[in-house]
Symmetry: C2
Subunit: 215 residues, 2 copies
């Protein structure tokens, strides 16, 4: 993905019809659709293939295993049609490097500090080291929390300019899209505020307008 | 799972026929069969259901997300027929507690120190804290490396007696089954040395005999 301000839909649903309906409604407006394990397990990896027909798919699999197992997961995600994958840095350089190598040019995003309370216990304490893992492994970018703008800013400062920052926490979780970009994120990850909206397309459009107005 | 010495097959294959064949051959000898994401993604979660007919299944999904996503993954694994699940502790107490709560009496094992080189970078440094997460969350037990017996011993000492230790690294990775039990593991996780053997059943039986002889 290019380094530019944009919007990613977190398609955090497990129902196939709902997933296809929302993705079809907003696929041409958002820059990517993020698919997590609950959806992929509920529908099979075929859902990635199907969704990829109308949107750029990022598999949010929080890949966190030894290098060889990571390789097998990454290979299957891209084979199914993913354009990117989200992996954990906590498992170390070799595990992340394996993901980047086997993504074969596809995007790899490394999780740094996580935004839930438990994310403060371990990930936040080594967030800068996790950023370094992403840099060393030549990942596309990192995931950093929009709900903690001062932390996001610090993580952004550590990254080379060409690396991309994706930030969850906009909309239902309380973050403002303008704050997210001000703090240095490139893409805002938005979930419920789009897929649970009465009119998901209208909701996505209003975020895009807010984004344009902030430029 | 009960706290007793036993053997777990790591079914690290992605081919459905091979998985079913090996599991059927050894399902009544080993105490459990561990299924990882590459297999579940390649075959769909139905493979867990099918394998659970002839063996006790532990889903090695290294679950590592926020509490609500963890809940959805755990619910689907157990609904598919898993008897246990492996989760990461570094995502913090709330994420692990969510897994234990939604396993509803099924087994939850928490990853502590990982055995690959990258496991030394982050997980090894906080291994004792990860053990504490497992204890606090009332998990069934932990995963600790047989390839580092002195570390396994330390992790075992931190755990209450009723908690179970599963250890990978026996067989093809060089660990001896007797060393693993001596260091305090309850179950030895064995992969290639069984599923890649010319006769997987015979290979599993010889491990069981080795185990009995060591008692």
């Amino acid at each position: 993905m290019k380094k530019e301000s944009g919007i990613i839909l977190a398609l955090d649903v497990t129902d196939k019809e709902k997933a296809l309906e929302v993705s079809k409604a907003v696929g041409d407006i958002v820059d990517a659709v993020k698919v997590n394990y609950p959806l992929a397990l509920s529908c099979g990896l075929e859902i990635v293939t199907e969704l990829s027909k109308s949107a750029h798919i990022i598999c949010d699999f929080k890949v966190a295993d030894i290098p060889n197992t990571n390789r097998l997961i990454v290979e299957q995600a891209f084979k199914a049609g993913a354009g990117g994958i989200i992996v954990h840095g906590f498992v170390g350089h070799d595990s992340v490097e394996s993901c980047v190598e086997h993504a074969k040019g596809g995007d790899v995003f490394v999780v740094t500090e996580m935004s839930h309370p438990g994310g403060q216990e371990f990930t936040a304490k080594v967030a800068e080291d996790l950023v370094q893992v992403a840099i060393d492994a030549k990942a596309t970018g990192v995931i950093a929390p929009a709900t903690r703008p001062e932390r996001l800013k610090l993580i952004r400062e550590r990254l080379p300019d060409n690396m991309v920052v994706l930030s969850p926490g906009v909309g239902a979780q309380g973050g403002k899209i303008t704050d997210v970009f001000d703090a240095g994120a490139d893409y805002a990850i938005i979930g419920r505020a789009i897929y649970d909206a009465e009119d998901p397309r209208k909701a996505a459009e209003s975020f895009v307008e807010e984004l344009k107005a902030s430029k």
